[in-house]
Symmetry: C2
Amino acid sequence: MEKEMPYKVYLTEEEMPRYWYNVKAHMKSKHGPFLNPVNGKPCTKKDLQAVFCDECVEQELNETDELIEIPREIRDFYRMFRPSPLVRAYFLERALDTPAQIYYKFEGNNTSGSHKLNSAAAQAYYAKKQGLKSVTTETGAGQWGTALSMACAFYGLGLDVYMVKVSAEQKPHRREVMRTYGANVVASPSDTTEAGRKILAEFPGTGGSLGCAISEAVEKARSTPSCRYVLGSVLDHVLLHQSVIGLECKTALEKYGITPDVIIGCCGGGSNFGGLIAPFMGERLEGGNNIEFIGVEPASCPTLTKGRYAYDFCDSAKITPMAQMYTLGCGFMPSPNHAGGLRYHGMSPVISRLYHDGYIRAVSAEQSKVFDAAVMFAKCEGILPAPESSHAIKAAIDAALECKENGQSKKILFGLTGTGYFDMSAYKQYNDKTMADFIPTDADLAKGFATIPNCEANKNNR
Amino acid sequence: MEKEMPYKVYLTEEEMPRYWYNVKAHMKSKHGPFLNPVNGKPCTKKDLQAVFCDECVEQELNETDELIEIPREIRDFYRMFRPSPLVRAYFLERALDTPAQIYYKFEGNNTSGSHKLNSAAAQAYYAKKQGLKSVTTETGAGQWGTALSMACAFYGLGLDVYMVKVSAEQKPHRREVMRTYGANVVASPSDTTEAGRKILAEFPGTGGSLGCAISEAVEKARSTPSCRYVLGSVLDHVLLHQSVIGLECKTALEKYGITPDVIIGCCGGGSNFGGLIAPFMGERLEGGNNIEFIGVEPASCPTLTKGRYAYDFCDSAKITPMAQMYTLGCGFMPSPNHAGGLRYHGMSPVISRLYHDGYIRAVSAEQSKVFDAAVMFAKCEGILPAPESSHAIKAAIDAALECKENGQSKKILFGLTGTGYFDMSAYKQYNDKTMADFIPTDADLAKGFATIPNCEANKNNR
């Protein structure tokens, strides 16, 4: 039976998940394997282990086990910042005067300011367990870099973070948090790698991109002994780690007999959305529910809504394996939207496949509208949201207003991935009314699509 | 019987306090009344109501009721960001290799980043209930101003925040958070008030001080219709509101049969420390426990450890009532320590009295040592602390190391009042190793003491 939820629900430590949820075990059609960029053939486990930690590769390739145990050491780390609260947005509902019920899972109550710590904790632990000395990564908005800095400080691992230059300049304070946790932060493109030097030569004034920072981080990891590269989104094992979000949600909702009608998440690389929906989607794929899943992306980087389903590189220098996913082309240059974490040309292969197969709906939102929603939310619910997360808020408000129009009392659940404390220059633009919206033209899109590799796999696909 | 605590304890909504705790009801010797700055006589209720909200004045003057009910509307607001977690610092204990048990109450999980929201919620509610249109206040580090902005946005009240100029310049992002919540932020001293203009004329290059910002905010409130001034610390009713911290702590600890041996808090105006210790101190004053209470202040602004117990003004322009408290003199100019929230010349009259009567021990700490403790804590416990809160961390670590030396397994509880996300320029100085320590010389102190008023009350007191 359904019960009225308190404003916030925290699980007890005993109720916290002991297993991650692997949604792939329930997918009848799965995405294709990574392809080796040199010969176009499926990557072997060994290919992947040259770049990623062994255990992460195992998880990446696991398509059969629904549950994968969370090691005790990682569960200990999780106890530092989890459980995260599931909140009933009573005050937002009141302000919207909607018959809908709005719930959100808030992942921002930790120093990284987002859900990213869920996977950082796991990946740093596995790197340490494997005997590595250091890891490398890239960061856009800075949340992933901060999360990984925290995890590396905790486990005693070295860390080089390639931070997209425009973010590093806009957010010197983010960089300082990472430094405080002991990370070495390099603005990308940099002259510390071949990939960086090449991009600098071609585009001397560039502010960088996630794709370019990935190229640098991968190159650095490959050229450093006892070092691997770790990625904060996109990959299947990252979505796996993020499934703690959805699992905690599901347990909390079930305590009150609540099944959501709609689940909404913002989509950059897809890890937060993938983690939030994982156990609900697994159930859906087996016919156990009829939930509507909505991914929200910025209109300036419309990977799902305007991209193509194809094999593409995960980085702009084309040194990573090719993944089957929705993509705007690895050479797509996103406009300077403030949601740095959503400015990625590709999308999680798992999310892409589910979207391709019709299990997910995608919408896009312009940033000025997103900030309208963010400020309304902040004033009602007392949390200043990250620009990324505010995409989900915007869609949740839209859904709640639609309910008001139709007199429906749907239960809307969305992922509030993080806080906007390091995004105040974006809020300043909004407060000063100088914020602009950027939408790529057909020509911009065509330029991006032209960079999708013309490989065998893509030929067969057309 | 004592039980091992999980890493974190959250009370349920049912367990949350319904009453604030008024420690004055248990104090045999109480501090003297406020004195009218014009005639030196005790302030009447009417005097105080000209500046503060009526209900806050009632609470300020209440010396007899142990419990004061928290209105439902304020408890609703509290549910947005409370309960706050009580944490067992297992990882810090392990890093220190100490037999001591360390607990902390973390008040930073809200957008204001600190405990300040506990009183902001109450004061904004009472202002609204009284039919006021707006309120004014001052802010140093910015946490109080942010908290009040959030509360005023929620209740629909106008707000002018006088922000100490040096903070406004160091922390433009703090200012932007307040603006996002709709507050009008003015760097102080400003030319919008007589007090500000006077100080600017005397000290043209000054970075301002809390005392000066208070003068401006009080003047502005007095000259605006349907407006009152609200203060974020020092006063008895603010300590009363902050008692939710101590009450939640006590309930949580009692569930596990734990009585702390030592309770530590940082001391600026005294509201966090006063709120944390309130119910424990009330018990102590009745002979119910033997807890050691330690207040920690910066060596650069050593109000308790080097100040005088006297009547003094709460502001530097000498327009507020005089309070009986420990003070460095209302004209004391604190050095540019990064713990902006602790740079106040005076101290809560309640804390001052308890200290004067020997129930509290006070220590001071230099900021470089405080940041050593902060960074160690951040790496172990995953929370980047505010410079203010880090004073308590420093003292807790010292106490735990003393236990290690003596083989004692004391239970140490400290208040982690907030996060340092808006203090990254301070952390940058620390990371760059350019942080300096400032300790006032005897001459600096003498200059401050010379500004303590030479009123009748102080003459009788010597």
